[in-house]
Every structure is written in C-alpha cells, then in structure tokens.
Symmetry: C2
Subunit: 369 residues, 2 copies
C-alpha cells in the first residue's frame, strides 16, 4: 500500500492509515455531536466514506462558543475531473450548507505542472477553466465561496508561503514526501503554497479563525506539515476530515486515477460512454455463471458497481436492497451495473446542465484580495 499526495496504489487498509498518519477515527460519539448541529448526517458519514479526522471536536467546541470555522479544500487542475474528485467536494458543500461556512477553494495550478514532465501551463490553464465549471456546478454558495488560484493570486499567497516555508527544512520534506536530490525546486517549495489557505483569513484579519479541511486521505502529508508549522506562526492548527478513495472501475481496491482512462469516469462523459465503461470494465463480484450466481450469490463487498453505489446512492433503503439482492443472487452483475449506470447518468446529466450555466458565474467565485 502506498498513499501520498501523488501516488496511491495497492490495497488500501484505512485502519492502518489512521494509525500510520496518526489521525482519529470518526466514532459514534463524534457523529452524534455533528448531528446535533446538522440535524441529519450525510450518508458519507453514516457509511464511513468520511472515516477519519483531526481535531473535529475542537472545531465543534469553537463553533459552540460562537467562533465559526471556515472550510478549505481544493483541486489541482491537471486533467478533467472524475467521479472520484466529487467525494470531498460533495461533502464540503454539505458542510458549507449545514454550518453556513465560508469556503476557500484552492486551485494550485502550479502543482501538477511541477510534478508532471509533460504538463504545460497552457494545459493547466485549460483544465483550471474546466474544473472551475465542475466545482461551481456542485452548487457552492458564491457569496461564501472564493477560488484561490496559485499563479493568479500569488501576490496574496507568496508572502505567507515564505513565512511557512521558512519553518520547513528539506529534511522534513524528505521525510514527509520522500523527496530526494532529484526533486525540482518548485516541487520542494510547493507544500508551503498548499498550507497558505489554512492561515490566510487569520493572517489578513489579524485574528485566529478556525479552519476545517475536508480532503481525501492521500493529501494528509501536506496538512501534517501545515499543522506542524502554523502554531509556530501564531495560528491555529487546521482541523481535518478525511474521506476514503472512490475505488477504480477496474479493481476493488486503490483509488480512481484520472490519468488511467479505463478506471475513471469523467464528469463530462456522455451516457453511452458511462454505460460502455461500466459494462466493460467494472470489476465484478459475481460468480462465473448465472447458475452459480443465482445459487451462491455475488460478493457486493468486492463488486465495484455496488461499491460505487455506496458513494452515489443516497437512499439507505435502496442501497441495502441492492446489497441483499446481489448477495443472495437475485441481482446479476449486469443488472447491478445497469442500476449504477442509470444512477450515474441521471446525476451526470444534471451536473452537465449546471456545468453549462456555470460559465457565466466564474467571475463571482474568483478571490479578490
């Protein structure tokens, strides 16, 4: 198992990640506490899709004392967005709605440029635009959401990034990211830019504002550094809440990768493409023959179609029915795939309509210093 901001591979053992990274599991008590404020629990919480955190209790303590947190998340624009990218974003939007929270949304458009040989700034410029449309389409509140784009907002970010960078040695970057002498200077500096949104509002207002960062757990190394450094500059450690990865179409484990065209479904894929990909590539938990499947049943715990329904079918009752029907052989793999296809195509169709309307809204979302 390998999990860092640029590589996720192998079978992911999330319990082990909690131990390795030193985070806390989201337990019933915390869920109850969240529910007290949100009225209901997002199904990502109920299903353990958001499974780990740092300092959520502190953030809620502050919230209860009247000190509201803001949210910070982001997207590195290096390709078209996939279903996998949606998970932290859907949840961030829910948190924004439930807690009335401001959101700093970072587009670190230099990150992947620095880490991918063949990616140019022309490419990232293109994907930045495309990705902004996807993010806006998710329905974030434009009055409470600001897009912070590293190369366009560098004057707001570079000075605080230097304050952060001054507190991080190359030793630390080596230990946390596995860097060596062959890393380029931009890669080495980059993590400081990723820390900036976790302190920028506090820095600008001259007073500490709690920050909560929802993200997929692979980004945790960056934020371990952030949490180490910010107190040295007089700021709060940001709190964090972590999601698992949407598994790739082609296998039960790992993380969907936007660069592996087979394992990913893009937010801009049309109905036929979605159908074709799922029918052709979705890893099946079914038995080799219909007879055997009817008799012995399938294994939903490794079937990717079922796994994906856990992420996209909000209705607990329906999900449970699919689970049971598949497990007892009533539902064949092809039928389960069709259920997923219909669910996704309905969702993507709506997304794509909102995405078109987003074009005229970009300007509202851009951060102004």
């Amino acid at each position: 198992m390998k999990v860092d901001p640029w590589n996720v591979s192998g079978d992911i053992d999330y319990e082990k990640l909690i131990k390795e990274f030193g985070t806390e599991k989201i337990d019933k008590k915390l869920l109850e506490r969240i529910k007290k404020h949100t009225g209901e629990l997002h199904y990502f919480l109920k299903r353990g899709i958001f499974f780990s955190h740092r300092d959520m209790n502190w953030v809620l303590d502050e919230y209860e004392k009247g000190s509201k947190f803001y949210l910070y998340t982001g997207r590195s624009p290096s390709g078209d967005m996939t279903l996998g990218h949606l998970i932290p974003l859907i949840f961030t939007k829910w948190l924004q709605d439930k807690f009335g929270a401001e959101l700093l949304f970072q587009f670190p458009d230099e990150e992947k440029f620095l880490f991918k040989d063949n990616l140019t700034f022309k490419d990232t410029e293109h994907y930045l635009h495309e990705n902004m449309l996807d993010v806006i389409a998710l329905g974030f509140n434009p009055k409470k959401t600001k897009f912070l784009i590293d190369t366009k907002h560098a004057t707001a970010m570079y000075k605080p990034a230097c304050m952060i960078a001054k507190k991080i040695t190359f030793s630390t970057a080596k230990a946390v990211f596995g860097f060596d002498n062959s890393n380029n200077l931009g890669q080495i500096f980059y993590t400081a830019m990723q820390s900036v949104p976790a302190m920028l509002p506090s820095y600008l207002k001259g007073k500490n504002i709690p920050c909560l960062i929802p993200y997929a757990i692979d980004q945790d190394p960056h934020f371990r550094i952030t949490r180490d450094v910010l107190p040295k500059l007089g700021y709060y450690k940001p709190a964090a809440i972590h999601s698992v990865f949407l598994p790739p179409l082609t296998g039960p484990g790992g993380k969907m990768s936007a660069s592996d065209k087979l394992s990913a479904i893009y937010l801009t894929d049309d109905e036929k493409t979605v159908k074709k990909k799922i029918m052709k590539y979705a890893f099946s938990g079914g038995k080799p023959s219909i007879e055997e499947h009817r008799k012995l049943g399938g294994n939903p715990d490794i079937d990717v179609s079922y796994q994906w329904l856990r992420f996209f079918e909000e209705d607990d009752g329906k999900l449970k029915k699919h689970y049971n029907d598949y497990k007892n052989g009533k539902l064949l793999t092809g039928e389960l795939k069709q259920i997923l296809i219909d669910k996704l195509n309905k969702m993507l169709k709506e997304h794509q309509i909102k995405r078109k309307k987003a074009e005229s809204k970009i300007n509202e979302f851009i951060y102004r210093a």
Copy 2:
C-alpha cells in the same frame, strides 16, 4: 576565500574567481568596443572595479544589430544601504544613460527574510522603503526603470519562477549554493525568483530580448543557474558584468558588510559619523611613526582610505596624485583619511538631499504588470 551570495570572507583573489566561476576578464579589446558606444569609459572600467563579464561581446553584437538590451540588477532589502551597495548601482545608471537601456530593478524582499532567522517581513518592509529612496536618489530614469518587488509582484513572477524551478533539481542547488537538508524550503526555491527578471520581458512580449546584469561577483552562483536554465525555456542566456567588492573599512581585503557596523558606512550616515568611523577604523597602510612614514612612505595598495578613493574619486589625476603623495610619504594617513572624509561627505550630502526628494517619486518607479 569564500564567495557566495550570502558570505564573502577571506582575501579575495579576483583572478582566481574568474577561473573558478568560469567568467571572462574584461580586456582592452572589450573596453575599446564599449568605448565606441559610450564615448568615454566609466572610471570603474578603467580601474578594473568592473573586471569580469559573461557574453558582453554578444550583447554588443546584438546592440550593433539594433537589438537593444535591457538591464537587470537589484537589492535585497535587509538593512540600510552602504557605500558598498552603490558600486553596481552607479555603474548600472551609467549603462542606462549611455545605452538608453530599460532597467528592471528587483527588490527580492523575501530573500533575506528566508536566510536570516531574526529578520521579519516588517523589517524588510521598512528597509524596502528606505532602500528604494537610495536607489531613486542615484538618478535612474523613472521612464526606463521599474522596481519589481517579489512579494508585491508575485503574481507577475511566481508562474515564470515555477517554469524556472521545474528545471533546477535540489542536486544543482546543493552543488551551486552548498545547500543541505537543513535549508528551508523558501531558501531552496528563492533562486528561481532571482532568475525571473532575466526572462520576464521576453516572456511577456513573446520574443527574446537581450538582458545584461551588472552585479558584484558574489551573486554569480544565482546567475550561473539562470544562464543554464533560460535556454531550456527558449530564452537567451543573460549577459553579465561583474564588480569587485568595496573592501571593509577595517581591513584591506574582503567585502564591506552592512551587518558589521564598524566596517560599513551607510548612505544615511551624517558627517560626524563618517569622520569618526574613518578616523577610528579605516585600515592604514602607513608606517608606525611620522618620521618613518615621511622617510619610507605609505602603502596605498593596502590602505583602505586610498582603496576607497579608487571607488569614489572620479578624477584620475587627483587619484594618481594621492597615490604618489602617500607612497612617497608626503601624505600622512590622517591626511589621506581627511581627503576621503571630505570626498564622501560631499557625496553623501548630495545623496541625502536627493534621497529626501525621492519620497514623492516612489510610485513612478513601481512595476505595473
């Protein structure tokens, strides 16, 4: 001898530096060629104060073909400016006047913040302002001179800096600057920011414009990297012309350091302070007693007052007379010191008047994207 952008110590052997750094000595042929365009030679050139270069002949080839170069130099605002800082600036102003050249003047206000533990951005902000006054007081043409301030112009600089940084590995930074695991991430990235002005006009205009960088030779490691990287991005290597260091008051060798209060005279020092410092600390090439001095003469080649007159007495005739008078014992050390004191105080008085007037001009000089 140690010469790098952050440390200069020991007896400086400039011939050896030319070999070690791989630069070229400024020879008579080059001086003649420069004179063809400038009409006269600046006394810094005649006296070998500017002694080394890279690609000056190429810059002049381009100039003669009608492709004008621009100048790039800078000042890291980390303290009050000294007489030593003036040397490359006086010469840059001369080049601007003689060649009608545009000048990009960088104030890398994050550099020393990153390299000095106790320096804050509040400090650099203060020195930035003070240093800008000194630079403007030197008489640069506001129509042709733009101040590029790293933290204030980061949106113009960070993206090209990332393009540069992508081409520099930590290995290279280790080899060139002697960095190790204890360097912070900002220090490691910084050299990319120092390279930016050497390509920014070409990058913005989408066509190659020759660049000439006058600087004291200790900055050469940065620009070796710049010259290595820019062609990989499709830009010209910048040309360079290098000065020796103004020696410290207290010794015949090395470099005046702004942080050593005894060895430095500041551009804001008043007449009494200048007199006191020179009388008290200027290293003497004289003999122990007046009798001996009269009989055997002094040694102007190690006498700091004479050395400084080489930098500040424009009149070759007067300088020669001081040399001879001191060497043959006609001039005592105290008298030579008084000559220097008078020269400097006249110069600084004029500078300080211009410096006051500079306050209202700052805005004209600030770079606009």
